[in-house]
């Protein structure tokens, strides 16, 4: 057990800090949340700067154009960029974290050459077409259908919870190429396709969340034609291909968020001190408890990262453990924030950033696997408890 960074790691951190100190002030002003083209340009611009400085695809293998950094370097990168207030991965999210790694692992040399460099350089934006209105937790029940017609698939169906769909160039799409039957279980018969978003038949409609924002979209596909050459992996093998993506994750998924939560908690303590609520032991101890909680979550992140480092990048089951606890803690944080602010302090006003963040926190126990699904995973895969009848 060692929590001190090596000399190389400290150097990496120092270089990064220096660069961030120089690069961040040069950024253009942040676009407004509903200026989608502006957000695309801003996010791609940041990615291009990372690329030029040698930080793009830090955690990607070298043969995919990445830097082959250790998980700890990646952790340092995420920690430092968050601390410095650098832009989030934003529109580059799917390309850098899902579609890109999938292509890197499963694509042909031609596919890698076509799609990976534009992601790293910040030239192209990807979105994700996995979930469907009828297939949420039960993702493999997806029904969007692709029928082979010569060299093309003809695709019909609908997708939901697609972020950045309005400005994406490509969509990593899961489709059913073999209908479910007695001999074809639902996890088979799925294929992974790269769909150009400007293909005829693709309609994107913004999906409004309870926070009032339109971060997500619904996507309707009406006989969209995609070349067979855009399929990554074998036909009907898309489920396995998709799962490969996860092996790039290496415990770093929530590093930035945990760092941000710790900063938020400190700000909340200052607010409580300023408005007098600090003198109420119920609130003060609640803040202390959450400080302990997020401290542990930060350490758990380091633990998961170093475990992934040992196992050579294969993610442990630590991800489910972390997500269960973190999503709950994040909701607690914003509930406590509302108590610290109180009605008189603006807890009911959207003019306070806390309130919007509180609304967003509600999705954490649902998105990317509900807490119920995560508990099943922990119970069945880690603890080996049997599936029910």
């Amino acid at each position: 057990m060692d929590l001190t960074y090596t000399e190389e790691e400290e150097e990496f951190r120092a270089r990064l800090r220096t660069w961030l100190g120089k690069a961040l002030p040069e950024l253009p002003p942040k676009p407004s949340p509903d200026d989608w083209p502006g957000r695309r340009a801003y996010d791609l611009g940041w990615q291009r700067r990372l690329y030029d400085a040698g930080y793009a695809g830090l955690h990607w293998p070298a043969d995919a154009g990445g830097r082959g950094a250790t998980p700890t370097q990646h952790l340092i990168f995420l920690e430092e960029t968050e601390r410095a207030g650098a832009p989030y991965v934003g529109a580059n999210f799917v390309g850098l974290l899902h579609a890109g790694p999938t292509i890197a692992a499963e694509g042909t040399p031609e596919q890698r050459a076509r799609w990976l460099p534009p992601v790293l350089r910040g030239d192209e934006v990807w979105c994700q077409g996995f979930s469907e209105p009828g297939a949420g937790s039960d993702l493999a029940a997806l029904r969007t259908k692709a029928v082979r017609d010569g060299d093309e698939y003809v695709i019909t169906g609908s997708k939901i919870w697609t972020s950045h769909a309005e400005v994406a160039d490509w969509c990593e799409l899961l489709v059913r190429t073999d209908p479910v039957s007695a001999s074809v279980p639902k996890h088979r018969g799925i294929s992974w396709l790269a769909m150009p978003m400007d293909a005829p038949g693709v309609t994107v409609r913004p999906l409004r969340t309870l926070a009032g924002s339109t971060e997500f979209a619904e996507m309707f596909l009406d006989e969209v034609r995609v070349p067979v050459g855009n399929r990554v992996g074998a036909e009907n093998d898309g489920w396995r291909v998709t799962m490969v993506t996860l092996s790039f994750e290496r415990g770093t998924a929530f590093v930035g968020e945990v760092v941000a939560c710790r900063r938020t908690l400190a700000a909340l303590a200052r607010t409580a001190k300023a408005n007098g609520r600090w003198d109420d032991p119920v609130l003060r101890r609640g803040l202390g408890r959450l400080h302990g909680e997020f401290g542990a979550l930060w350490r758990l992140t380091q633990w998961n990262v170093s475990e992934a480092g040992r196992s050579g990048g294969v993610p442990g089951t630590g991800g489910s453990v972390f997500k269960l606890r973190y999503s709950h803690a994040r909701q607690e944080l914003y509930d406590l924030a509302a108590e610290v602010l109180g009605a008189a302090g603006g807890a009911l006003s959207l003019d306070e950033e806390w309130t919007l963040d509180r609304l967003s926190s509600l999705s954490y126990t649902i998105a990317a696997g509900t807490s119920q699904i995560q508990r099943n995973i922990v119970a069945e895969r880690i603890l080996g408890l049997p599936k029910g009848r």
Binding site: D138, W161, A344, G346, L348, S349, L362, I366, Q372
Partner: protein, 306 residues
């Protein structure tokens, strides 16, 4: 032989049924969503037509004596009516206007919209177009703030800065009744969704985890119902504090669990669940917060134990 009967009387059932029918007709789901859409970004004030209809139906004058144009009913009946209003998320300063009946001209008949500084601070709800503020002469200028609840416009204004103390108990109880209605409604919404939505080849409500979420919602709702009804019958400050505490908790936590049962769909603007949660957050801050209610109860406990 008659016995203590905590159950609703025939008249009370009729009253509740009548109010439910009225609100279903006048403020069903389509009306709710229309007022959400209409209110986007700007406070268009209370729907005066609806307000008058509520007035005519006795919503505000319920507890006034008949000679003053009321129906001479009690807190128990008022609670039943407010529970129904909470179910359908009826907007507007219902509690304040009800409390103003017989005090502020027009409140009883719903021709006046009356609000109150019931948030313990500089914020006041529904100030735009309000005719009066409980316990104040005249209506102060207010600066609109963006409210978390699209159906409860909020203003920052100079006012008494405190809840009108004499009305605090009744205000808290009626607000608890609104919360109760919401808690019962989100239970229904969750159960309906759990029966319809299929995942992994069966309704999600067949999964024990979802089942138990729903069971917890029902329990919270029933405990809150008992507390609210009992407090309405006795009118005791301690019971009212307990009712507010339990109803706030039921409304907020049931809305949260309802959202969880709905999964991603619950996170959409289209689903009604966020409207329940946001309103429940607002109401939890009105008249008596949880911390205040706990202190009232603690003091009563100690006094009674001497």
């Amino acid at each position: 032989m008659r016995a203590v009967d905590f159950q609703l009387t025939e008249d009370q059932r009729d009253l509740r049924g009548g109010v439910r029918a009225l609100l279903e007709g006048r403020y069903g789901r389509a009306a709710l969503r229309a007022s959400v859409d209409r209110g986007e970004g700007v406070d268009r004030g209370v729907d005066r037509g609806l307000w008058r209809e509520l007035g005519e139906a006795g919503f505000f004058a319920l507890r006034l004596p008949e000679e003053e144009g009321g129906t001479g009913l009690g807190l128990a009946e008022a609670v039943l009516v407010f529970e129904e209003a909470g179910r359908v998320l009826l907007p507007g300063p219902l509690v304040a206007t009800h409390l103003a009946a017989g005090v502020v001209p027009g409140a009883a008949r719903g021709t006046a919209v009356v609000t109150a500084f019931d948030l313990g601070g500089p914020f006041v709800a529904h100030l735009g177009g309000a005719d009066a503020v409980l316990g104040m002469d005249g209506v102060p200028e207010g600066v609109p703030v963006r409210s978390v609840d699209p159906l409860t416009p909020l203003y920052r204004a100079a006012g008494p800065g405190a809840v009108p103390e004499a009305l605090r108990d009744e205000g808290a109880l009626l607000t608890a009744a609104l919360q109760l209605g919401s808690a019962l409604r989100t239970t229904e919404l969750a159960v309906r969704y759990a029966k319809e939505r299929e995942q992994f080849g069966q309704p999600v409500g067949a999964f024990q985890a979802v089942k138990h979420l729903c069971a917890g919602m029902l329990v919270r709702g029933e405990v809150a119902r008992t507390a609210v009804y009992a407090a309405a019958v006795t009118g005791a400050p301690g019971e009212i504090a307990g009712a507010k505490l339990l109803a706030d908790e039921a409304a907020v936590r049931n809305a949260r669990d309802c959202l969880q049962v709905h999964g991603g769909m619950g996170f959409t603007w289209e689903a009604d669940v966020h409207l329940h949660l946001k309103r429940a957050w607002v109401r939890a801050e009105q008249w008596r917060t949880a911390a205040q209610a706990e202190e009232v109860l603690a003091a009563e406990l100690l006094a009674g134990s001497a």
